[in-house]
């Protein structure tokens, strides 16, 4: 019997996947099966509307090592849709599954729906310059980024939970797991962000942004080069196509030129403010308000002005 399958190794994201899965269920009249990595997660997913949850029991904690096992499971079940969490691990697994199912795959879909027996997924092209509706024949694989959907309400009847012993990929040995030196700050959840770019000449100068962030009660984020090339901020602080997508009330970009790869991560912000010394910097096209000027002069003045007005 064909069905809709969901999987994410990230328990919160797995719950979010149930929301589009339950919408597809309406359109396709097919049951939703979730795959989980622990009994606890399985129970949660069953309570949120998955008809069936299969807990995958394996010898490894490496999710990518389950790619082939998940492919086989979906293949023998005759899956019509596989929604995977759009983490990097999830994309790896999903692409493997898509290859094995001879299926098309939409990466980082913002929405999914069924039209004329096919799946339509909306996603970005050209680093966010364009939106594209992709039409996938079934079976179809789709990855969905974190926080695209809210998790569904608890279902009237909890689904069933079963376990399956699965093989893992023994060819790859994983070691030295290390949580990136983050600050514990979740940029994606911040209400206000002061975001810093290459316009700062050295790391110590970020103090100017921190001072402003303090009076604004904002968190600090950055552009890719500040984290990846300069290592001035932890890698989990950068906003952009391969980093965070943020939707704060205020996104204040300082010394960020505003290439599309960056802006795509910030353009769903309610209000965008830019400070840059280059009048022609593309960030101003994406900004509600902007100041053309030297950030070393502008930031202290702005900090003082906000403080004088009792914060903002």
């Amino acid at each position: 019997m064909p069905g809709i399958f969901v999987f994410s190794e990230d328990a919160a994201l797995a719950k979010q996947l149930l929301t589009p899965a339950l919408e597809l269920k309406q359109a396709l009249s097919q049951p939703v099966t979730a795959l989980a990595l622990s009994e606890t997660d399985a129970k949660d997913l069953a309570a949120l509307g998955a008809e069936k949850v299969i807990t995958l029991q394996s010898a490894t904690a490496w999710p990518e090592g389950l790619s082939e096992a998940i492919s086989r499971l979906l293949s023998s079940a005759g899956a019509s849709v596989f929604l995977a969490g759009g983490t990097l691990r999830g994309k790896h697994i999903a692409a493997h599954v898509a290859a094995k199912l001879n299926a098309g795959m939409s990466t980082d879909a913002k929405s999914v729906r069924i039209e004329g027996g096919k799946l339509l997924a909306t996603r970005l092209h050209y680093a966010g310059l364009a939106l594209c509706d992709e039409e996938l024949s079934l079976p179809a694989v789709v990855t969905i980024p974190p926080r695209t959907f809210a998790p569904p309400q608890a279902a009237a009847h909890a689904g069933t939970v079963e376990t399956a012993k699965v093989e893992t990929d023994g060819r790859v040995a994983i070691s030295d797991f290390s949580q990136a030196a983050g600050s514990g700050v979740d940029i994606g959840a911040a209400r206000k962000l002061v975001s810093v770019g290459r316009g700062f000449r050295k790391r110590e100068d970020l103090k100017l942004a921190e001072d402003l962030a303090a009076v604004l009660k904002a968190e600090i984020s950055c552009s890719r080069p500040v984290a990846e090339d300069e290592h001035w901020l932890p890698i989990d602080h950068y906003v952009g196509i391969s980093g965070h997508t943020v939707k704060p009330d205020l996104y204040l970009a300082v010394g960020i030129s505003g290439q599309v790869q960056h802006v795509v991560g910030a353009r769903e912000s309610k209000l965008i403010v830019a400070v840059n010394n280059d009048e022609h910097a593309p960030i101003f096209e994406s900004a509600d308000y902007g100041i053309v000027g030297d950030l070393y002069e502008v930031l202290p003045l702005l900090t003082a002005a906000v403080r004088k007005n009792g914060g903002r």
Binding site: A95, D133, E134, R171, D176, L250, S286, I291
Partner: protein
């Protein structure tokens, strides 16, 4: 001494793509081609590896007939030879078709210790090619690599997964995808550019790959592409007096009711 194959895509440079205001369609007439950004990192990483340890780097690409424009560019970046499949099926190819074509070509070319791809292409950024290739070729896959070393036949790769890193150790042959932060791709010197002319370029005809018609039938078809436009106020203060600009910005923010 590792034998490496780098797969790359010749894409339009998104910097030169304009959105037509009347219908939000994309104007690509001024867009030049480029080797996809992260594929350059893959080329650089394989080249560095071979410069240090010996071995060889070949390159492989599948594109429309325009892909010919990329051959000299890729050879000036390090690879000793390029195989190219120029076929207009590529214009509509999705990641399914692309992986089928590349995998069939690799099977024809023989064994490589390392097959490297960029994390995702600059245009569609599907991030699928490496895991799909590995699945089709029956090889292990280590994706999202930010540091790579090879000793004997063993590949050690540090993966960057956003909030964490981990080290994958695997015996080749293996398929890898690399992140942009793994290296800084070189800007080819004049000597490297001139040297590229002497390196072999070999065409592979898609018809010689023995692929069933179904394997060339895309599963994901772009239906409606339009520029992403958000309306912003674009109120920009650019007086010489920074204090005046700040005062106006503060007044502006006050009207937005930010708490």
């Amino acid at each position: 001494m590792p034998k490496c194959l780098v797969c790359y895509k010749w894409t339009l440079d998104e910097k030169d793509i304009k959105i037509k205001p009347e219908d939000l369609s994309l104007d690509v007439t001024r867009a030049k081609g480029k080797i996809s950004d992260f594929d350059r990192n893959a080329i650089e990483e394989a080249t560095l590896l071979v410069e240090h340890q010996g071995g060889a780097v070949d390159a492989l690409t599948y594109g429309t007939t325009a892909v010919k424009q990329s051959l000299k560019d890729v050879l000036s970046r390090g690879p000793g030879r390029v195989y190219w499949i120029g076929d207009n099926s590529a214009a509509k190819a999705d990641a399914y078709v692309t992986a089928n074509v590349l995998a069939a070509a690799i099977q024809k070319l023989g064994t490589y210790d390392l097959i490297l791809c960029g994390e995702g292409s600059s245009d569609s950024f599907n991030q699928q090619t490496a895991p799909r290739l590995a699945a089709l070729l029956g090889l292990p896959c280590v994706s999202f690599v930010l540091k790579l070393s090879v000793e004997g036949g063993t590949v050690k790769a540090t993966r960057g997964l956003g909030d964490c890193t981990e080290v994958a150790t695997v015996k080749g042959p293996v398929v890898l995808s690399v992140l942009g932060q793994i290296n800084h791709p070189r800007i080819p010197s004049l000597k490297q550019v001139l040297g590229a002319n002497k390196k072999p370029k070999q065409e592979i005809k898609i018809g010689d790959l023995g692929l069933a018609a179904d394997k060339l039938q895309p599963r994901a078809v772009p239906k409606f592409e339009r520029g992403f436009v958000t309306k912003r106020k674009n109120i920009i203060f650019k007086e010489a007096n920074a204090a005046a600009n700040v005062a106006k910005l503060e007044a502006g923010l006050a009207t937005e009711g930010l708490q």
